[in-house]
Each structure stands twice: as C-alpha cells, then as structure tokens.
C-alpha cells in the first residue's frame, strides 16, 4: 500500500469506474470518450455518423475517378491533331456564369441544410428548389457550350485533346445532372415524409455530394478553362 493516496481496493474501484474497458490513460488524446472516433470506449457510432462517413469515403472514390480524367486531360491537352486548340474553344464569359451558378447553388444548399437542422420544412424545400434551379442553369449553359462547339464541327471525335476536354467536363456535368435527379427525389421525400432520421441522413449525403461537385468544378475551371486561355 502506498503512502500517498487511497487503499488499493478503492483505487481498483476508481479504475473500473473511470476506465471500464481498460483502455489505459493516454497522455495525448481526448479525456472524454468521443463517439465513433475510434478510441474504443463507446461502441458503434450513431447511424448519422456512420452514414455520413460512408458517403465521405464514397466521395473520395469519386474524386479519384475525376483525377484520372484530369490526368488524361493533362497528358492530352496538346494533342490537337491539327484541329482546334484549347485556347480556341474556351469561352470565359460563359464559364464565369457557370461558376457563379454552381457556387451560389452550393451556398443555397448550405442554407437548406441549416433549415433542415432547424426542422423547417418550408425553407428547406425553398432552398433545395433554388439549388436545383441553379444546378439546372449550370447544366443548360454547359449543354449550350457543347452544342455550339458541335455546330462548328468541334467534337470529341476530332482529336485527343477534345476527347479529354469533353470527357472531363462532361463527366462533371453528368454528376451534376445525377445530383439534380437525386435532389428532385429528396424534395419529394421531404414533402411526403418530413424529417425522419433516414431522410436527414440522405440530406447530409446530398450536401456532401453537392459541395464536392463544386470543389471539382474549381479544379476544372482553373485547369481546363483559365489555364487554357493561353494554351
């Protein structure tokens, strides 16, 4: 028995009470158990955390998918095969409008989620609708760009550079379109079912997805369009 402190039996009881799983006291790290953070004290995390994290991991895989198309673009940006160069097809004004639309839609998406957290159905739907409309503006502008180019005979079949240009930008547009379909489904679900836990979980996932698309767009407008002006 030590001079300082309590009898061993009391010590043992204190240890069991404070550290029931004998995880040991760590000099670093949090002193209170954090659910789902892996330090082991709390068991499986709440479904909200699990769903959100799983979707985060999916998003990382999607980012890797985009990076392959970026890599292909980087490799092929000079492969014009005697056809038009990047500088000749870039329309900065339109890209500016597309960027503004997508950035604003990310903002309204955040606001809709704030409304969801406040359990306000009306404002959730309103901001989701605005998000969807802004996304639609983005997609329509992009379609307009593609149709105009095709009208001039500038198609992905013309050269390697055009293939990877249309591929990268088109893949992003496809994601935005899919996101739009998902958004419409979510709006219907919120209308019919309200803010049940699984609906909120899906809205968390949708938010992650929409913001990630804007992050990818930052990469695209910088590397493809802005850097392409001088190509």
């Amino acid at each position: 028995m030590s001079d300082v402190g309590l009898p061993a039996s009391v010590e043992a009881l204190r240890r069991v009470r404070e550290d029931p799983h004998r995880l040991g006291h760590r000099a670093h790290g949090p002193t209170e158990p954090i659910e789902g953070a892996g330090h082991g004290a709390t068991g499986p995390a709440h479904k909200r955390i699990v769903v959100g994290y799983g979707f985060w991991i999916y998003l990382l895989s999607d980012i890797v998918l985009f990076s392959c198309f970026f890599a292909a673009f980087a490799v092929q940006r000079g492969a014009t095969a005697g056809g038009p160069t990047l500088a000749q097809i870039v329309d900065i004004r339109r890209v500016g409008f597309e960027t503004a639309a997508l950035l604003l839609s990310s903002y309204t998406c955040m606001l809709s989620f704030a409304a969801t957290n406040a359990r306000n159905r009306l404002w959730t739907e309103i901001f989701l609708l605005v998000t969807g409309l802004l996304g639609l503006v983005f997609v329509l502008l992009e379609l307009q760009e593609f149709i105009e180019l095709a009208g001039q005979g500038i198609t992905p079949q013309r050269s390697g550079m055009l293939t990877s240009f249309f591929g990268l930008v088109g893949l992003h547009g496809l994601h935005v379109t899919a996101g739009g379909l998902w958004l419409a489904t979510m709006m219907a679900q919120v209308l019919v079912k309200g803010f049940r836990p699984e609906i909120v979980h899906r809205l968390i996932c949708f938010n992650l997805f929409w913001h990630a698309l804007d992050i990818v767009w930052i990469g695209i407008f910088t590397i493809v369009y802005l850097m392409g002006i001088n190509a």
């Binding site: 949090p30 209170e32 954090i34 659910e35 789902g36 953070a37 892996g38 995390a45 709440h46 909200r48 955390i49 769903v51 959100g52 994290y53 979707f55 985060w56 991991i57 990382l60 980012i63 890797v64 990076s67 890599a71 292909a72 980087a74 490799v75 000079g78 492969a79 095969a81 005697g82 900065i92 500016g96 960027t99 950035l103 604003l104 990310s106 903002y107 955040m110 606001l111 989620f113 704030a114 957290n117 406040a118 359990r119 309200g194 803010f195 836990p197 968390i204 938010n207 992650l208 913001h211 804007d214 992050i215 930052i218 990469g219 910088t222 590397i223 802005l226 850097m227 002006i229 001088n230």
Partner: protein
Amino acid sequence: MSNPASEPHLYSGASHGQHDHAPGDEPAESAGHWVRNANLGLGFSIVLTVAAFLLAGSHLVYPPAIPVALIVLAIAQMGVHLVFFLHITTGPDNTNNVLALAFGIMVVFLIVIGSIWIMDNLNRNMMPMEQPMEMQP
C-alpha cells in the same frame, strides 16, 4: 419532430466534442453557426474566384507565374469549401475525416503527378513519327 427523446445524440452533452462528426454535419443547436459558415464561405469563394478570373489572360502578374498563381487560388478555394461548407476541422472529433481526406489527396496527387511524369518521359522517348500528329512534348 426532433426532440431529446428521438434524437438524443443531438441534445446530449454540453460540449461539442462529445460526438464525432461526419463532414458537413452539425448538431441542431448550431443552426446560426451554420449560416455564418455559409456566408463566410461564399464571401471568400467569390473573392478567390473573381481573382482567378481576372488573373487569367491578363498581364497583372509576370505571365509565366500565372499558372502557379491560378493553382494556388484554386487550392485556397478548395480549402475554403472544405472548411466552411464541409466543416473539416482539426478537432479530435474530425480525425477520421481528415485522415480519409489526406489519403484521398495523396492518391489524387500520385495519379495526376505520376501520370504526367511517366507519360511525359514515355512521349519523349517515343520514336518520331512522319505526320505532325504526335503529342507536343
């Protein structure tokens, strides 16, 4: 619809750090905090976007430095999105998220930079072709 009985995780604990967070997730009591993040994020993003658009194709900066400047602005804006819209922080409740993100960034870096390096070397060593259809080095 949301109350302490049905969603105790949203209402328990006085401190934030009691619960792990998925990216972009906040407990209910921080709705105002959420809007503030959105406004800040939008503001910074607009500044960075406008700067990038003005910089490209202009002569405000030493021209060969423009691509680097654009990339810096892009990375900064991606950071703004991650922090303000997706709420990635360095808190202990976010460690898993940050680690996963770091892993993803590493993979993206390897694929993009690795491919550029490898393909550039391959192309440089490729036999010259007669027609002017090959890639520029």
